[in-house]
Subunit: 441 residues, 2 copies
């Protein structure tokens, strides 16, 4: 960090803080006058990113082709687990054999929901359904929730009345001492939510050691599964290999550790092509895949194979896919950098905040002073910038320190995001100064 | 029926039957020599029907449009319940207000599955979830199953351990005396599976009186719902209005009867455009729709809106849709007629079978002598023609009389279906003659 002529807020006197608050408040009022209307709340691609995949819409047109590579007419009923080329696409993305992939409809969240729901009502690979286990043992089913994490994961488990246990995140992933202790001792612990690469919201990736420790778990519950949401598996911000994170293949690691059935891995093309019209997939051991298919046959005759064909044709081989993802990166990297610049310039050295500097994914994670996150988000909203709700990154929406804020820089334009980041930094300063002043009072 | 020089099999002597069996067996051996390989098992459109909708693939191409009529970018995240024009499409098909429609992904079966699953795990409009009710009362949840009916409906309820009660079908729909008695008295009865128009497999439609009696039910269970699978709502075989069935609007009928929340209606474009890539919908009262959406938000951020846009653009206004469906009819009507001709010519007057003569839908329902259906299907298979499994049209796959066979004429070509129908009729004669002969012995 550059030397700057700033004094950490913690070293300011009450009088200095008071003067600071006054100045910041005036500045804030100026921002309110601009009547901004910006949304940094969700990990949503911008229009320019969507335009990158318009060619996909022509890959299956009225002139065809409509047959998959094995000759299946994608327009008609059938093929429960997906056409071969769509399986191949995900097999390539995740580094797993095609036979260990099921391709679904447009939403990986829906696949994860269904996985929890199926386990609840019908059990995992022949085990007693969770609702019956919970009734018999009088104990709720539990999930471990590395936090900060993805709010929609936590919403699914909460919706099923599944108890959620916060697991702190380190630079290498979840606190594995705690994970091992809980998973290996408590039969009520049935799952853990993981975003291993460019995690939501930290943007950091799990270390090899973390993946190996996951694979070596010896769960007390035979129906425990790792929910490995590899949502950002190919979502690098930089083209240089040495600026890209790589995460060990969990499925291979589990197999090597003699734990082949330990994990369900999820992915989708939502942030490769169209979030509203991609395809999702699950990868797992052959036994898990057979179990899921045996249940799926009651749910559907088959998912949208024409769209599977579109995605597979458009994203093509791995080099093609990597090149396509770098087009995304070229659009969103400047947005990430604009936010990081604003944070560094405005907040560097003030001792009131830290933040992650991700090399991929969709988020920057911000940590303010304890007890300031809700107030910062509220101030931003007052001036027309919507952030992800403070607390949303924790189970039950409760951030114990009220300090974490998820920044999603992708949706607004570069100009807008630059403005929004400036305003955000101002709100951080204002709320932090007010808080410190209050503590002196 | 034309006068024919045939004697009902029941009036033949043992010697005559024996001679008949010999001749039919010889004829059957001849058919086996043809090595047919035909599939009449599922209600699946043929290739010619799929080709009718190829233009749909061009309605959303790389040149756009990608915005829905309210300006939503269909490519991006969001819009839980479907874009306005897709709601409008189903509102028109079902005769309900757009606000009472949710549009989903590609499979109405999946929507029905989710509806049962949601009721099981989370309850209906605030009522206790079914799994808790069942545990408390020590009684299983029950569904009424008009039979013969759709095997995939029955498979869903069986999969959830829901008890299934057979309801006989009359020419006007389910036996409503029995439906009223059970629904209005038994709090454990939570649903009934209905295919009201060109029903699967009968091809017949519910009378106005039946619909009104449904709407006037006074269920013992406040969380009882009619599952109204209007799969064939616009699937007429004939263009003339007086040769088309019409069924009263159940949603309006329920509202008029003071029972607005009594019914969930389902439909899809699977057999309008592509079975593998259509869109599905639910229509219901505002309170039901709100309840479903409140649950859906945990399942997904939104379904494939680009495909919703495609379907809406292609099927367009009601006249356009009706004209499109008549193109389907022009292809499949001759197939239905070929089967009906073969049945009439080969089996008319023999006293061993009756069958329905549908004016729409995808099936003809065949009733043979009691105890012959499995044997007939087995004989067909022996000669290379796959029929829907005997029993499949009844809960638990058990046809109490072993007499019903579902004939699905749409998938094979006209030439193939003509052959298959001849073979089928021969197998009916052979198995029936053998059975009657056995009874004399």
């Amino acid at each position: 960090m550059m030397e700057k002529n700033v004094k950490p807020y913690g070293q300011l006197s009450a009088a200095e803080l008071s003067a600071l608050c006054g100045g910041l408040q005036t500045e804030f009022e100026g921002w309110k006058g601009k009547a901004l209307k910006l949304d940094m709340s969700r990990g949503k691609p911008g229009k320019g990113q969507l335009d990158l995949s318009m060619g996909m819409l022509d890959t299956v047109g009225s002139g065809g082709p409509v047959a998959s590579e094995d000759g299946t007419d994608t327009r008609n009923y059938g093929v429960l687990d997906g056409i071969p080329e769509a399986k191949g696409l995900f097999a390539g993305m995740l580094g797993v054999p095609e036979a260990q992939v099921i391709v679904f409809g447009s939403s990986s969240l829906n696949v994860m929901y269904d996985t929890v729901a199926r386990s609840f009502t019908h059990g995992v690979m022949g085990a007693e359904p969770w609702y019956l286990q919970a009734a018999r043992t009088k104990d709720p089913i539990k999930f471990l929730c590395p936090a900060p994490g993805y709010d929609r994961h936590f919403a699914i488990t909460e919706h099923f009345g599944i108890g959620m246990v916060n697991i702190p995140m380190t630079d290498e992933g979840p606190d594995m001492d705690m994970v091992e202790r809980l998973v290996n001792s408590d039969e009520g612990v049935k799952g853990i939510w993981c975003v291993p690469k460019y995690s939501n919201p930290l943007g950091t990736s799990y270390s090899d050691e973390t993946v190996r420790r996951f694979a070596a778990l010896r769960p007390a519950a035979k129906d425990f599964r790792i929910y490995w949401d590899n949502a950002y598996c190919v979502h690098h911000l930089y083209p240089e290999a040495d600026r890209q994170d790589s995460v060990l293949d969990i499925i291979e690691a589990c197999a090597k550790a003699g734990n082949p059935d330990l994990v369900y891995e999820f992915a989708s093309t939502s942030k490769l092509t169209f979030p509203g019209a991609g395809v999702a997939a699950m990868a797992a051991s052959p036994a898990n895949i057979a179990d899921v298919k045996n249940h799926m046959k009651y749910q559907t005759i088959g998912n949208d194979k024409v769209n599977q064909l579109r995605q597979a044709k458009f994203l093509g081989d791995p080099e093609n896919l990597a090149a396509h993802m770098q087009k995304h990166a070229a659009i969103i990297r400047p947005k990430f950098e604009a936010v990081l610049d604003a944070l560094e310039t405005q907040l560097g050295g003030l001792g009131i905040a830290r933040w992650t500097k991700p090399r991929g994914g969709y988020f920057i994670s911000f940590e303010g002073l304890p007890g300031t996150a809700k107030a910062i988000v509220a101030r931003c909203k007052e001036a027309g910038v919507v952030m992800t709700g403070a607390g949303a990154t924790y189970p039950y929406g409760k951030d114990p320190d009220d300090s974490n804020i998820r920044i999603a820089p992708t949706f607004p334009s570069l100009g807008e995001i630059t403005q929004a980041a400036q305003l955000f930094a101002l709100c951080v300063k204002l709320v932090s100064a007010e808080k410190l002043l209050g503590e002196r009072g």
